[in-house]
Each structure stands twice: as structure tokens, then as C-alpha cells.
Amino acid sequence: MAIDTELRQEGLVDSPFGKLHKLYKGLRSLPWIWVSILLVVLVIPAVFAPFIAPHDPYEGDILERLAPPVWDEEGSWDHILGTDRLGRDLLSRLIYGSRIALFVSMTALLVSATVGTTLGLLSGWYGGWVDHLIQRVVDIKSSIPVILLALIFVSIFGPSIFIAISIIAIFLWNRYTRLIRAETLALRNMDFIARARVSGASTTRILIKHILPNVANTLIVLATLEVGTVIILESTLSFLGVGIPRPIPSWGVMVSDGRNYLAVAWWIAIIPGLGIFLTVLSLNLFGDWLRDHLDPKLRQIRR
């Protein structure tokens, strides 16, 4: 068996894919790479947007419209990544866009994790009709295609950041419920819970002081792995015009803005998508690393 593995490894060294995979494995065990990409693409621009952004993200100079990025022959350092059809600076809009991405994903995550965890705890702890009721709600939720639900919301209330966050939260809470419910079920009959009960602790106290800390790792890992999903969902909704309303610079909206200018100004649509890709890739790989270190038994929650 050992020889077999060695032979496999040897054969691999020569192939380009093998090299790529070795690189990937190496990168995966170095979380600081992903963390620093996240800092550079997402967190730092989001926090310091007004100080970093070279131009106003809303005000454009119509004379400078569709200016190419700096590496193009006609590009200039004034607009490093070029401008869009209204002459707005793409880099500045990207920087402010990371603010939207971070704010929306964090809020949506907080809401969905809180709701989902609470329901999961209740469902696992009480069992019986409480469990049945919550499971039926989960059923109803998974039967509604979220984008269609988003459409109903938007057709009534119109698009807004608040609606976008609500939709994303509604979409994601049930994953927490499922995992936390399973863990609570396993913990419920353990000795330390029985002792807490004997010593007179109330149900609320047991759930918060004894069960919750024991499912915290699961919660952190799942939440980290979900941030990427949230960002993709938010940008998809915004791209379709049912998420973040214009002219707020969301990355999804920016890609949509550049759709009709691919022939003359490809950068408007392609560059913001690259931002989404880098952010989500780093988040996912960092999440994988976190899972391996905090809670390896969670392997099954990602394919």
C-alpha cells in the first residue's frame, strides 16, 4: 500500500494538475494567506473606504466615461481600474462595494444564526410537538424557492438593503437549525446535563450555559462557511435588481451595470466579479481550515 501511494505521488510530480494540487494543499494549510486576501479585498476597504477611495463612488465625470484601466494603452493613473458609463471611478465603487458586502453578510449571518440556533436548541431539547412544528416550518421553508420569495417581497415593498438582508436571513436559518438540533439531541442525555438539572438549573440556564458552549464550535465553523454563500446570494439578488437598489455600489449591481458594455468596456462587468470570486474563495478556504482545526467531524457539511 505504501509503495502504491509513493508511486502515485511520483507520477504526480510531473503533471501540471499535480503541481497545482500540491500548491493548493500547501496554501490550504497556510490560513494567513486567505486571511490577508480577505483583509485586503474585504475588511480594510470596507472599514477605511472614505480614506482609501480616490474618488466619490456616486459622482461621476461624464467627460471621463468608459475610461479604460491603467494597464491599457489609453489608461491613466487617475482612474486605476477605469470608469463606468456614468464616468464613476470603478476602484472607488469597488471599495465602497466591499462595505455593502461586509455589512449585508454580517447582519444577515447574525440574524439567521440567532434564529436558526434558537429553533435548533428548542427543537432538540423539547422534542415532541415542538420539534414536529419546527420541522414542518423547515419543510415549508425548503419548499419555497428563495429567489421567488425575494420577488414577492420586492414586488410588495420595493428593493432595499433591509429587504435584501431579510431575504438572505430567511434563506439560511434552517441549516443552523438542522445541525444544532442534532447536536442538542446528542447532548441532552449526557450526565453533566442531568447533574445541572438535579442541582436545580432552569431550562433556559441549561440551554444557554451548558448546551450552547458545547455547540459553539459547530456554530462558528458553519457561520464561516456560510459567509461565502451569503455574499454570492447577495450579489445574485443585486444583479437581478431585487437586492441592493441602485445607485448603491454593490458588486452584483456593478456587474449588471457593465453587462451591456462588454464590447467597449469589459472591465466594468468583469472586475467587480473578480472581487466577489476572490472574497468567496478566500472565505471558503479559510472556513475549510477552521473546520479542520476546530471541528473535523463536520466534514459532511461541505461536499
Binding site: R8, L12, S15, P16, F17, G18, L20, H21, Y24, R136, V137, D139, I140, S142, S143, I144, P145, V146, I147, L148, L149, L151, I152, F153, V154, S155, I156, F157, G158, G228, I232, S235, T236, F239, L240, G241, V242, G252, V255, S256, G258, R259, L262, A263, W266, A269, I270, G273, I276, F277, V280, L281, N284, L285, R303
Partner: protein
């Protein structure tokens, strides 16, 4: 088995009623329902008609029964931006969406099963690693961005394919490809299921018995491994629903997804509602079907479910 099917159908019915209650109360409980149901240019006559149709002057409970009776008769209300009823619009658009979604599913599902088997059998080969790298990258890429890159490269720059619209075969290539991409997740699932099977005792026995390798893989391991992606089928189909909205919008494909976005821009509530309900009914039915198929395919589960 029968009992299980009945319970599943019952749960499906509860889910459907839940969906209708959500949709029903969203319109009735957030401000004046007529404001939500009508467009900006609608006159008194339309207002009276809509009010009559949904029984808006009656108590809420009675309104809900009127609502359910209308739905059961396929009456979703009038569209004010398209000058037709929502049901007619859907009937016209449905074949286009089914064509695109059907093609995508028929190509991607069998293909990812096959590739899953191949990557499992050729484990640790360059092919396997290539698949893994692509899977990791694919998970981080939004569909709409891939679609736009493909349009940019193959339609705008190279000029090989049309950018959008409905027409000959060449109009199908890009939309079907983008729509089929997300279901590639099945590939990884099939791979790990296949690895599990290849590692088991009965496969070793089959090898000792001297069965040819292709028979071991396709006749023994594949059959057992394919159960796992089967449960994933409902997830694949629900991503197809989401995906078709994105793809139809980008490629200007005259299907239900594009209709949904057009209706939303006109704030055409009746059409949006009809589409959401249709989508939900399809999803609920698929959930039930995959659950039943799963139980049917795996005797072990069939046995435990029958016990309970």
C-alpha cells in the same frame, strides 16, 4: 411503504398550505391590498374586478377560501403590464423554460455521475486533482459572472456564438452550459460515495472471485453509490429554478425566469405570485418524489422507515 408515502404526501400538503398562507398574508397584511395588487395606471374598473376576484371586502378567513378556490381553478389574477392573465403568460413561457432546464439536467446529471465514477476509480490522478481544483473554484464563482465572461469571450470577442435571444441550436449552447454548471457538485458527491463502495468488503470479494474490473465498477459499486446523489437531485433541481432566472435574464431567453424579472420591474404582483406558487408546487412535488425514490432504492432505509 404505503404508509410512508401517505405521510410524505400529507407533509407536502402542509407545506403547500403554509406557502399559500405566507403569500396570502404578505399581500393582505402589509398595507392596503389593492395597492399591492394593482399597477399605477389601473382604473376604477380593474380595481373593482380585482377586488371582486379576491373577495377583498369579505372577512380574512373567507378571503383565504376565495383565494384557494381561485388557485385550484388555475386563476392567478390579471397581469396589468402584459395585457393577459397570469395563467396564460405562464402557459406561453413554460415550454421555453422546460427546454432549457430539461437540456441542462439531462446533460449535467448523467455526465457528473460518470465523471464522479471516473475520478473515484482514477483516484489521485491528475484528472482527479483537476476536478477538485475546479470544484473549489466553481463554488466561489457566481453564475451570473461566469455567464458574462462566456458572453464576453465567445460572443463578443470571438463572435462564435450569439449573445442572447432564442433561435437555432447555437443560441442554446451558452445558456445550457451555465445552467448545467452548478449541478457539477453532484460529481464530488458521487466520487466520495463511489470511494466508499470501492473500499467495502463485497467489492474485495468480487475481485477475489475474478470478476472483470468494469463489471465490478459499473454493476456492483455504481448501483450502490448512485443512491447518494439521488437524494441530491432535489437540491440540483432547486438550483435549476434559481439558475434559470439568472440565465434567462442574462441571455434574454423568453422563459418564466425572464418573465419573473420583467414582472418585478413592473411591480406586477399577480404574475410574480403565480410564478412563486408554481415554483413552490414543483419543488414540493420533487421533494416528495426524491424521498420516495430514495426509500425505494435503498432496502435498508425502506425497512427502517416501514418499522417506524
Amino acid at each position: 411503504m404505503q404508509r410512508y408515502i401517505i405521510i410524505r404526501l400529507f407533509h407536502g400538503l402542509i407545506a403547500f398550505i403554509g406557502v399559500t398562507i405566507v403569500v396570502f398574508s404578505l399581500v393582505r397584511l402589509t398595507g392596503d391590498p389593492l395597492d399591492n395588487l394593482l399597477g399605477e395606471e389601473d382604473d376604477e374598473e380593474t380595481a373593482a374586478y380585482v377586488s371582486e376576484l379576491w373577495g377583498l371586502d369579505r372577512p380574512l378567513a373567507e378571503q383565504y377560501f376565495t383565494y384557494m378556490r381561485n388557485l385550484s381553478q388555475g386563476e392567478f389574477g390579471p397581469s396589468f403590464s402584459f395585457d393577459a392573465s397570469a395563467a396564460e403568460l405562464i402557459k406561453k413561457r413554460l415550454p421555453n423554460t422546460l427546454l432549457l432546464g430539461g437540456l441542462a439536467a439531462m446533460i449535467s446529471f448523467p455526465l457528473s455521475l460518470m465523471l464522479g465514477v471516473v475520478t473515484a476509480v482514477k483516484r489521485d490522478s491528475p484528472f482527479d486533482y483537476g476536478g477538485k481544483t475546479l470544484a473549489v473554484m466553481g463554488q466561489a464563482t457566481p453564475d451570473f459572472w461566469i455567464a458574462i465572461i462566456l458572453i464576453w469571450v465567445f460572443a463578443v470577442t470571438l463572435g462564435w456564438l450569439p449573445t442572447s435571444g432564442k433561435g437555432g441550436l447555437s443560441h442554446l449552447v451558452l445558456p445550457v452550459f451555465v445552467l448545467a454548471l452548478p449541478s457539477a457538485g453532484t460529481l464530488r458527491l458521487m466520487r466520495s460515495a463511489m470511494l466508499n463502495q470501492l473500499d467495502s468488503e463485497y467489492i474485495k470479494l468480487a475481485r477475489i472471485k475474478g470478476l472483470p474490473e468494469w463489471k465490478i465498477i459499473w454493476k456492483h459499486a455504481f448501483r450502490n453509490a448512485a443512491i447518494v446523489p439521488l437524494t441530491f437531485l432535489s437540491v440540483v433541481i432547486s438550483t435549476l429554478v434559481t439558475g434559470s432566472i439568472v440565465v434567462e435574464t442574462i441571455f434574454a431567453w423568453p422563459g418564466m425566469g425572464q418573465l419573473a424579472i420583467q414582472a418585478i420591474n413592473a411591480r406586477d404582483y399577480h404574475v410574480v405570485q403565480a410564478l412563486a406558487l408554481m415554483g413552490s408546487v414543483i419543488l414540493i412535488m420533487l421533494h416528495i418524489l426524491t424521498d420516495i425514490a430514495y426509500v425505494y432504492a435503498d432496502p435498508r432505509i425502506r425497512f427502517t422507515k416501514m418499522q417506524s
